[in-house]
Symmetry: C2
Amino acid sequence: MTADLTVFQETMLPAVEQAMQAVLARARCEDHDDLYHMLAYHMGWEGEGAGPKARGKRIRPLLLLLTTAAAGGNWHRAVPAAAAVELLHNFSLIHDDIEDRGETRRGRPTVWARWGLPLALNSGDALFTLAHIAMLELHPPVDAETTLIAARILHQTALHLTQGQHMDIAFEHRDLVTVDEYWQMVEGKTAALIAACTDLGALLGGADDTHRRAYREFGRMLGLAFQAWDDYLGIWGDAALTGKSTTGDLLERKKTLPILYGLQQGSAFARAWEQGHPHTPAEVPALAAALETDGARAYTEAVAASLTTQALEALDEAAPQGDAGAALRSLAHHLLRREH
Amino acid sequence: MTADLTVFQETMLPAVEQAMQAVLARARCEDHDDLYHMLAYHMGWEGEGAGPKARGKRIRPLLLLLTTAAAGGNWHRAVPAAAAVELLHNFSLIHDDIEDRGETRRGRPTVWARWGLPLALNSGDALFTLAHIAMLELHPPVDAETTLIAARILHQTALHLTQGQHMDIAFEHRDLVTVDEYWQMVEGKTAALIAACTDLGALLGGADDTHRRAYREFGRMLGLAFQAWDDYLGIWGDAALTGKSTTGDLLERKKTLPILYGLQQGSAFARAWEQGHPHTPAEVPALAAALETDGARAYTEAVAASLTTQALEALDEAAPQGDAGAALRSLAHHLLRREH
């Protein structure tokens, strides 16, 4: 990362962390503090393994605040919105882990794995509520009308998230999922929240409608491109190809973009997959090669590259200003130019 | 119920139902409508057994709108808030049913029993979001400041609900729960939402702070009294005593008010309970008698009567006006003077 981006990160993210902590303190009761401690554990603040690694990268609030500053606004006023999007993201992780039966996240036991499903589900509901509470902290100094618009964006995003998550869960039980359906799912599950970050950032930075639309489109395309690269790396990243990684998408039989593309070709890869392969890590490289023969590698790379271009073009249209603008471009490049 | 109350019910509730339907239509996608249909099923609008019985009594929106009218406001403007509280209540039912493994509700399979846990959990999240979306429909014509206050009340209530639910779940795994802890749990799980209904109703009806506080206290006491009577009937209601009802609280070993009171006395009832009785419906009447000997019946009845009095006194202080005021009193009496 560039020096500029690091400076913003080190200034903005502690402010967001502090705002989230202040909001979560609302969940404390005198004698019955267990619910709060579950949430503080999930946020990476408490318990075994607490620390920066357990917190994740806090990319979403950073995007939001950089956008506010790059649009010419005072990012300090947008901190409640940045806290809200990060809390919303974290709420969705608690529930996703239950839905997927995921037992570890960021190297630690998930909330349900530690406290059991009923309390974990309920703690996710609490964090969802706290995200909404955080957003309304915008007012004052942000005016009531703008705060309502921001709250509506958060709600609409949360609804879109559940629509994407519904599709994702439903896909697991289906043999056939089209590439079109896949993109609909990703729009909700990944792109909606990133688009909300840049949209909220632009709104609170005082961008006009044209620039706000461009910022929103930048976030959306960034989310889609990020997912396409992630899917690419899930098969042709080093660890995935050796089959040693727990994220080897072929071994986990995930319905990612290259796999769905491959299945639509109906050739050797599709036949092997339909017979339940790969069963072992040793089978992974041959299946990845079959997928490449089907054109899935070239297709995924081309799609990811095209989405990346569209994201950066939208960012150009948004015309981010000053040091924050430079840092925002730097963050976009950092997120999109990953090793592959 | 009195004729007045019935007239209000027949005017107000269809407007709420329509508002909820309009909000839920936001969850529809062109091709992927499954999530919407899960919610429409849960709301009692669709699927086997759909109809008034599957919808529940819609007491909460009725309380809210009657309060608005009794405080001198135009109840039509408060319909979005009434829709929001009913959607919030219904969201909590979807998640409670997962947490308690409840397989039927209002005579039909629960959402998770029908669609499986992951999709059901996610559909609850969608309904939670839709409740928030409904609330912001207040503006316009309600001004932005008041709409923000209403949204904050909804969020605070949702947080309180999760705190009560956390305690309720945690109690299941504990041998000892005090009567004080029980009341803390009921404050969150039952009273908070009823208090929010009368508070929101008064806010949107234009009540001054003093009357709004009285309306809120009326709702809170109504919720507590309702729960106390419910606990009473769960043991000394006819069906509960014969042990034939599925809601016999002794047989289900629920930690309700009279049972917790009895356990604190440490006599014959407590010893039998600690040994795991009752095992069968036939044992229920003797245990209920032992509980009565401990004074639990008299205690619960006295507490319920006292809370009822406090609820009605708070309502007097709120001084509800006109036909809606009379209907509100009538509803309170109807809810509190149940057969016992």
